[in-house]
C-alpha cells in the first residue's frame, strides 16, 4: 500500500466524495474540521497528520500538517491510529467494496484502540458521531477504482 499515508490518498477520497454529491446529499450535511493522525510504527518512520475540512456535501480541503500545526488547525475531532491499523482498514475497504463489520469507524474507535477518536472538546468530538454515515462513506470511497 504505497499510497498510504499520503496527501494523494486523501485527495482521491476528496475527489470521489465531491463527484458523488448525490450519495452524500442523501446522508445529510457535513460540517467539521478533522485531523487524521497516522502514528509511526514498524511500517512508518514518523507520525504523519492530514487535515480535512468537510462542508455541506463536499470535502473542501485536504492538507498535510506538521505535528506542531495540528492544534492551530483547530480540528473538531482527531481520528488516530498506527499506520498498520490504518492500512488494514483501507485494505479491508478495498477488498470488500466498503468497510466490513470489523472495520467500521465506530467499531475501530469504540474502545480507544486500535483507533482513537478524540479532541479538545467532547461536544465537538460528538460531531463525528452525529455525522458518522458521511465520514464512513468518505473512507468507503477508497474502494472505488
Amino acid at each position: 500500500m504505497s499510497d498510504f499515508p499520503s496527501v494523494d490518498f486523501f485527495r482521491v477520497l476528496q475527489r470521489r466524495m465531491n463527484d458523488n454529491s448525490d450519495k452524500f446529499r442523501a446522508l445529510g450535511f457535513t460540517d467539521s474540521r478533522a485531523v487524521f493522525a497516522v502514528r509511526a510504527d514498524d511500517e512508518l518512520e514518523d507520525d504523519r497528520y492530514f487535515g480535512a475540512v468537510f462542508e455541506v456535501y463536499d470535502c473542501t480541503e485536504i492538507c498535510e500538517l506538521e505535528a506542531s500545526e495540528v492544534e492551530a488547525y483547530d480540528p473538531d475531532w482527531i481520528l488516530e491510529a498506527d499506520c498498520a491499523d490504518w492500512r488494514e482498514m483501507i485494505a479491508n475497504i478495498r477488498a470488500e467494496g466498503a468497510a466490513d463489520s470489523d472495520h467500521t469507524l465506530n467499531r475501530l474507535s469504540l474502545l480507544g484502540h486500535p483507533f482513537r477518536i478524540h479532541g479538545v472538546d467532547q461536544t465537538r468530538v460528538d460531531v463525528f458521531h452525529r455525522q458518522q454515515l458521511s465520514y464512513q462513506e468518505f473512507f468507503d470511497q477508497a474502494a472505488e477504482g
Binding site: R25, A26, G28, F29
Partner: protein
C-alpha cells in the same frame, strides 16, 4: 403581565428544591452491594438466557419477517407476528413493548407503583380510544411521505413577486405558521398519555408533530428570504378550538379522564381540513412554481392528518361502548367550536383578504378574487360534513357552518 395566562393549559412546572443526599461512600457501598451488581460479578447469564424459547418468557422465537416492496414495513412484520393488533387488556406498565410478556416476577401489588394510572402512559389505555384499523399502513405512509427539504425543495428556484403579492402570500404563510404551532401544541401532550401497546399510533403522532415542525421551519425560511417578511398575527383563528382542547386535557393535571378524541376531531378533522382547503386556494393563487410546490407539500401532509383523524373518529364511533355516548360527546364538541371558528377563522379578514388578493392577482383585481372565494367558501363546510358522514357522525341538521357565504 402579572396575571399568568397560559394558552394551552398544562401542569405546573415547579421549581425543584434539592434535598439532602447520603454521603458518597454510602452510595458507592450500596452500589457494590446491589443485587444486580452482585449478579453481574458472578459473570453468569441470567433468566433471559435460560427461559425456554417456547412456553417460557421468550416470545415468538424463529419469526423472520421479509421486507416487502417498500422495505421492512409494519405490515411485513405483522405478517409473521402472533399479536399484530393489541387486543389484550392493558397491562400495568408505562414503558413496555406489547410484544414482550410482562414479567411474572413483578408482584401485582407493586405494579401500581411501577405504573400509576394517572400522570403517564396509562391514562388513555382503552383500545377504542386510540387504535385504528390500519395503524401500520398509516404510520408507514407518514414516514414514507415525509419530505426531506434538502432533496425536495429547490430554494434557488424561488422567484421574486411584486410587493403586494409577496405581502399577501406572506400573510397567508404567517397564518399557516400559527396553525402549525397550534396543532402541534394541542396534539403533543397526548403522545405521552397513550398506552405503549399502541406503538404504531404513538409513532404516527410523533411523525405528525414532526410534520408541523418541518412545515414551520420551511415556512419561516420562505417568509424571510424573498423580499417580504413575517406578517401580522391572526387573532381568533383558534377560537373555540383552544377552549375545546383545554377542556379535553384538563391541563393534563388531576386524576380525570382526558378526551383524546375531542382533540382529534377539533385538530385533525376540522383544523387540518380547513388548512387543507385554504391551502388549495393559496396554491391556486401562488405566482411561482416554487411557492406552489411548497404549499402542495404542506397540503399533502394536512390531508394525511385529516385522514388519520377521520379513521380515528370512525373507529371510536364504531368501537366505543354505548355508555360512552361517543357520538353525543363529539357533537357537543363540534357544537362548541363551529360558530367560533366560522366567526374567528373562516371570516377572519387576515385570512380571507390575502387569499382574495392572491386569487385576483393583485389589489386592483380584488373583486375577481372575492368571487372565487365566494364560490369556494361553502365547500369548506360541505367537506367537513361529508367527512363526518363518511365516518358515521351525521351533523347535517346540527352544523353551524353556513352553506352559503354570508359575504
Amino acid at each position: 403581565m402579572s396575571e399568568k395566562r397560559e394558552r394551552l393549559r398544562t401542569l405546573e412546572m415547579p421549581r425543584l428544591r434539592p434535598r439532602p443526599l447520603p454521603p458518597r461512600e454510602e452510595v458507592v457501598a450500596n452500589q457494590s452491594r446491589h443485587f444486580q451488581t452482585v449478579k453481574l460479578s458472578r459473570g453468569e447469564l441470567g433468566h433471559w438466557f435460560h427461559t425456554p424459547l417456547d412456553g417460557g418468557e421468550w416470545s415468538e422465537w424463529g419469526k423472520r419477517a421479509r421486507p416487502d416492496a417498500v422495505g421492512m414495513t409494519y405490515m411485513a412484520v405483522t405478517e409473521v407476528c402472533d399479536r399484530p393488533v393489541p387486543e389484550v387488556q392493558a397491562y400495568r406498565r408505562l414503558m413496555h413493548s406489547r410484544f414482550v410478556k410482562p414479567s411474572p416476577r413483578v408482584p401485582e401489588n407493586l405494579e401500581e407503583r411501577l405504573a400509576p394510572k394517572w400522570g403517564g402512559a396509562r391514562e388513555i389505555e382503552e383500545k377504542y380510544e386510540v387504535w385504528i384499523d390500519d395503524a401500520g399502513p398509516l404510520a408507514e405512509e407518514a414516514l414514507d411521505r415525509q419530505w426531506r427539504p434538502a432533496l425536495s425543495l429547490r430554494w434557488e428556484d424561488m422567484q421574486r413577486l411584486p410587493p403586494p403579492l409577496e405581502r399577501a402570500f406572506d400573510q397567508i404563510l404567517t397564518w399557516l405558521l400559527q396553525c402549525e404551532y397550534f396543532c402541534s401544541d394541542a396534539v403533543g401532550g397526548y403522545v405521552g398519555r397513550l398506552h405503549y401497546r399502541f406503538v404504531e399510533i404513538k409513532s404516527y403522532l410523533a411523525y405528525e408533530i414532526f410534520d408541523y415542525a418541518l412545515h414551520a421551519n420551511a415556512l419561516r425560511k420562505r417568509l424571510l428570504s424573498n423580499g417580504g417578511g413575517m406578517g401580522a398575527q391572526v387573532e381568533g383563528f383558534d377560537a373555540g378550538l383552544l377552549e375545546v382542547c383545554n377542556e379535553a386535557s384538563q391541563g393534563f393535571s388531576g386524576e380525570v379522564p382526558r378526551d383524546f378524541n375531542a382533540v382529534v376531531l377539533a385538530i385533525d378533522v376540522w383544523l387540518n381540513g380547513v388548512m387543507l382547503d385554504l391551502l388549495r386556494l393559496a396554491a391556486a393563487g401562488a405566482r411561482s412554481e416554487f411557492d406552489r410546490r411548497l404549499l402542495e407539500r404542506v397540503m399533502q401532509d394536512c390531508a394525511r392528518h385529516v385522514s388519520w383523524g377521520c379513521k380515528r373518529i370512525g373507529c371510536y364511533l364504531r368501537d366505543a361502548p354505548p355508555e360512552r355516548e361517543a357520538a353525543e360527546r363529539l357533537h357537543a364538541v363540534a357544537d362548541r367550536f363551529e360558530p367560533a371558528q366560522v366567526e374567528g377563522h373562516l371570516l377572519n379578514p387576515r385570512v380571507l383578504e390575502p387569499l382574495a388578493l392572491l386569487l385576483g392577482g393583485g389589489p386592483e383585481n380584488a373583486a375577481a378574487g372575492w368571487s372565487v372565494l365566494r364560490e369556494f367558501w361553502p365547500q369548506i363546510g360541505e367537506r367537513w360534513l361529508a367527512r363526518l358522514d363518511a365516518v358515521g357522525l351525521n351533523r347535517r341538521d346540527r352544523c353551524q357552518v353556513p352553506t352559503q357565504p354570508p359575504f
